[in-house]
């Protein structure tokens, strides 16, 4: 029973094995104290997760029996009212820099929130994998930087801000285009360069835009001053909005970012700088690129937080903390999200010449954001396996439909070639490839 524990330890700290799942569990805490993960049911030596699974199995069997017998009465041992509506989770404590206190470590997630995060992350995951497929079929061309593995970042951030806030990121932008309001259909059609794309096929993977989302930027680091400029506009207009400004561990060494830190702090701009540290700037690991890999401290005079970017609740809590800080007029704040990308830098990078397959596999099995959320919800009786499977099926269908649209929608018409050079401008003539080719451009 007790292995490495001294006899003085209280009875309720003893560990034991659940008879069903054979996982080690703690006994229930004494009265008045909060339970941590793995609450146990005293009945039959089962842990709660296993008890839940047993009940689900029983209900499935009953339902199956009812169907086979053609019974009109629906026998269902479980309804959605049986699920826990909300649960408290203990999340990793964030390292802080120049802050007296950090984000909360005990957070509440409701069932609805959990399902929404799950659906969104799964949609992003499947969308990126479909893009991988289409790229290998040469239906998507050029650059394609995939976001799978990092879903918790985009979803966690969006859960903490409003759609009326602003966001700008670099080229690994498909996920953010989705969380900011773009549809999967329009995103995929933009990747395949069709007229139904979010930028009418004119932008491609790296240049997608929607309301209060400023792309999608191809030049490494250039989006950081832009983000501070958006924040300046928010402050100027006095609208209590803020700008979330993302960049990677590679970009973190760009000079213009330090220029931006200086001006943002000087003018107290409402900007949240977020470094998505996935360990590699293209093929260069962080140790080979940065004299200091404490990216959350690189703001020097800007307070920083280092966050587990694979845990959507951790990201959400830290983003809430950062948003409160910004909106209170204290100026910019810096967040480093420690995350991981499963794919290489882009589709032309297999991603295994500078890191091992074992490393990728280890992250997938131990820290996958979607699996983590799923385990949390199941072990806290917030959803059933079937329910989540249903969501998977719906997501798969949505992606299939979107891919279908993206491969069958026609390319932009040639008449569109020279349009949109200017905004709100009278039509003008554009020189084609030869002097006799005079093309028309409208706004």
């Amino acid at each position: 029973m007790c292995f490495s524990q001294t006899p003085e330890k209280k009875r309720w700290q003893q560990r034991w094995f659940c008879r069903y799942c054979r996982q080690r569990r703690r006994r229930a805490a004494p009265e008045g104290q909060r339970l941590t993960e793995g609450r146990i049911c005293a009945v039959q030596g089962l842990c709660w997760a296993s008890l839940g699974k047993m009940l689900t199995n029983i209900s499935n069997v009953l339902r199956a029996c009812a169907q086979r017998n053609g019974a009109a009465a629906v026998v269902s041992a479980r309804t959605y009212a049986d699920f826990t509506n909300e649960a408290t989770f203990e999340i990793k404590k964030c390292d802080t820099f120049k802050l007296d206190e950090g984000p909360a470590t005990q957070v509440v997630m409701t069932r609805d929130e959990g399902l929404q995060y799950y659906r969104t992350m799964q949609t992003m995951r499947r969308m990126e994998l479909k893009a991988d497929q289409l790229y290998k079929q040469k239906i998507i061309r050029g650059f394609c930087h995939l976001y799978d593995g990092q879903e918790a970042c985009a979803v966690g951030i969006e859960a903490a801000i409003n759609l009326s806030d602003h966001l700008i990121t670099a080229y690994r932008a498909h996920g953010y285009t989705y969380t900011r309001g773009g549809t999967v259909k329009k995103i995929m059609a933009e990747l395949t360069g069709r007229r139904g794309g979010i930028a009418k096929g004119k932008g491609g993977s790296m240049h997608m835009y929607c309301k209060h989302f400023y792309g999608g930027n191809g030049i490494v680091g250039a989006q950081v001053p832009l983000g501070a400029g958006v924040a300046l506009a928010c402050k100027y207009q006095g609208n209590s909005e803020l700008c979330v400004c993302l960049y990677g561990d590679g970009a973190a060494n760009q000079g213009q970012i330090f220029e931006t830190y200086n001006m943002a702090a000087l003018w107290k701009l409402p900007v949240i700088f977020i470094c998505e540290n996935n360990g590699y700037g293209m093929g260069t690991s962080v140790e080979r690129a940065a004299a200091s890999t404490d990216y959350f401290k690189r703001g020097e005079f800007i307070p920083g937080v280092r966050v587990d970017g694979m845990d959507v609740l951790c990201v959400r809590e830290a983003s809430r903390f950062a948003a409160d800080y910004c909106r209170s007029g204290k100026g910019p704040i810096l967040m480093e999200l420690q995350t991981y990308r499963y794919h290489g830098h882009s589709m032309s990078d297999p991603g295994v010449s500078y890191r091992t397959r074992e490393e990728i596999q280890e992250v997938r099995s131990k820290s996958d954001p979607i699996s983590m959320l799923k385990d949390r919800m199941l072990s806290n009786n917030m959803a059933s396996v079937e329910e989540l499977k249903e969501i998977d099926v719906e997501v798969r269908k949505e992606i299939e439909d979107a891919a279908q649209f993206a491969t069958t929608d026609p390319e932009p018409p040639l008449e569109d070639l020279c349009n949109h050079i200017f905004h709100n401008n009278p039509p003008l003539e554009v020189r084609g490839t030869n002097p006799w080719s005079k093309l028309k451009s409208v706004s």
Partner: protein, 338 residues
């Protein structure tokens, strides 16, 4: 600015005309603001923004640290989010530090977003040669910026140009590169009553015939328009009547005005301060050749340009690095074969 509201023509320096334009546009539209090095409390490195900080305060006239790439990017971001920034580069030489933001973030965005994202920004500042500031501070960027689709590039000469074009640039919903000239700041020009009104604008993309003539067309922009007019005055005494065209806008270039003039005079000389290779004059030559005016030329087009060297410091060398009036006169006579 003391002349505002009066009905008689007044003499206004280019500096004051630019100041008036910014003052009027700042007053007219809440979203307009100015940022750059020394624009606020110093009254502007060249005093172009004198008095504006006192009138409008910290919110609208912003002093920046020496961070061109950073503050140019911030200005572009602010434009994307709905404001109308005027981003001053102390000289356009320093815009090279920020050129990625001007081209990739500002110029190309409307196209890449298929019209979803506009960038109503003006980048302004002195361009080209000054006096004795040597190689790193004397480059003309007209050709570099005019090369890029998505930008409008404007180059005023006199006070009326400066005021009308700056107002149009600020009101334009697209990125405009506004190339001033430091040597012209202190030069007074007459401004008509019309030009003194608060709503006076000059359309971007239209050239102006400053002097009518019949023997040869001189096309120029910025400071060298003045040189062309001086050369024309000298040549008139010898019976050669030059038509002088002030381009006003480099991109989009008003080729129609040049063609109409060439069809009348049959001879063309371009005059600019920038380097010859791949320059404004080179573009004019190519466009004339491709268009209908080619058939009206009695001789090839002549380009008068800066010498193809980095700008030297010594006065005698500097004077000989840029087109002088005698160079224009010489080129006109050679083109006319007189």
């Amino acid at each position: 600015n003391e002349q505002k509201g009066q009905k008689t023509p007044a003499t206004v320096t280019v500096r004051d005309a630019l100041n008036q334009a910014m003052d009027e546009e700042l007053e007219r539209d809440e979203r307009v603001f100015l940022l750059g090095e020394e624009v606020a409390q110093y009254d502007g490195a060249y005093k172009v923004s004198r008095g504006l900080w006192k009138k409008y305060g910290d919110k609208r006239i912003i002093d920046t640290p020496i961070s061109e790439m950073g503050f140019a990017g911030i200005a572009v971001g602010a434009a994307m989010a709905g404001l109308r920034p005027i981003c001053e580069f102390m000289t356009f030489n320093f815009s090279m530090q920020a050129i990625d933001q001007v081209i990739n973030s500002a110029a190309k965005t409307c196209y890449m977003s298929a019209g979803l994202q506009a960038v109503p920004i003006v980048f302004r500042g002195p361009n080209g040669a000054s006096a004795g500031v040597a190689a790193q501070h004397s480059q003309c960027f007209a050709a570099w910026y005019a090369h890029c689709p998505g930008l409008k590039v404007v180059s005023p000469w006199n006070s009326e140009d400066a005021k009308g074009l700056l107002k149009s640039s600020i009101r334009d919903d697209n990125p405009v590169v506004f190339l001033e000239n430091e040597l012209l700041y202190g030069v007074p020009f007459e401004m008509s009553e019309e030009a003194q009104s608060k709503d006076f604008t000059i359309p971007i993309g239209k050239a102006k015939v400053e002097r009518a003539g019949s023997h040869i067309t001189l096309v120029s922009h910025s400071r060298y328009v003045g040189h062309c007019l001086d050369a024309a005055a000298v040549l008139a005494k010898e019976g050669i009547e030059c038509e002088v065209i002030n381009l006003r806008t480099i991109r989009p270039m008003d080729v129609e005005s040049i063609e109409a003039s060439v069809m009348k005079t049959n001879h063309l000389v371009t005059v600019e301060g920038g380097w010859p290779q791949f320059g404004v004059g080179a573009e004019i030559c190519a466009r004339i050749m491709e268009g209908s005016a080619f058939n009206y030329l009695d001789s090839p087009v002549t380009r008068v340009t800066g010498v193809d060297i980095p700008m030297p410091y010594a006065k005698i060398l500097e004077d000989h690095s840029l087109p002088q009036i005698k160079d224009i006169i010489f080129s006109v006579k050679k083109t006319l074969n007189v």
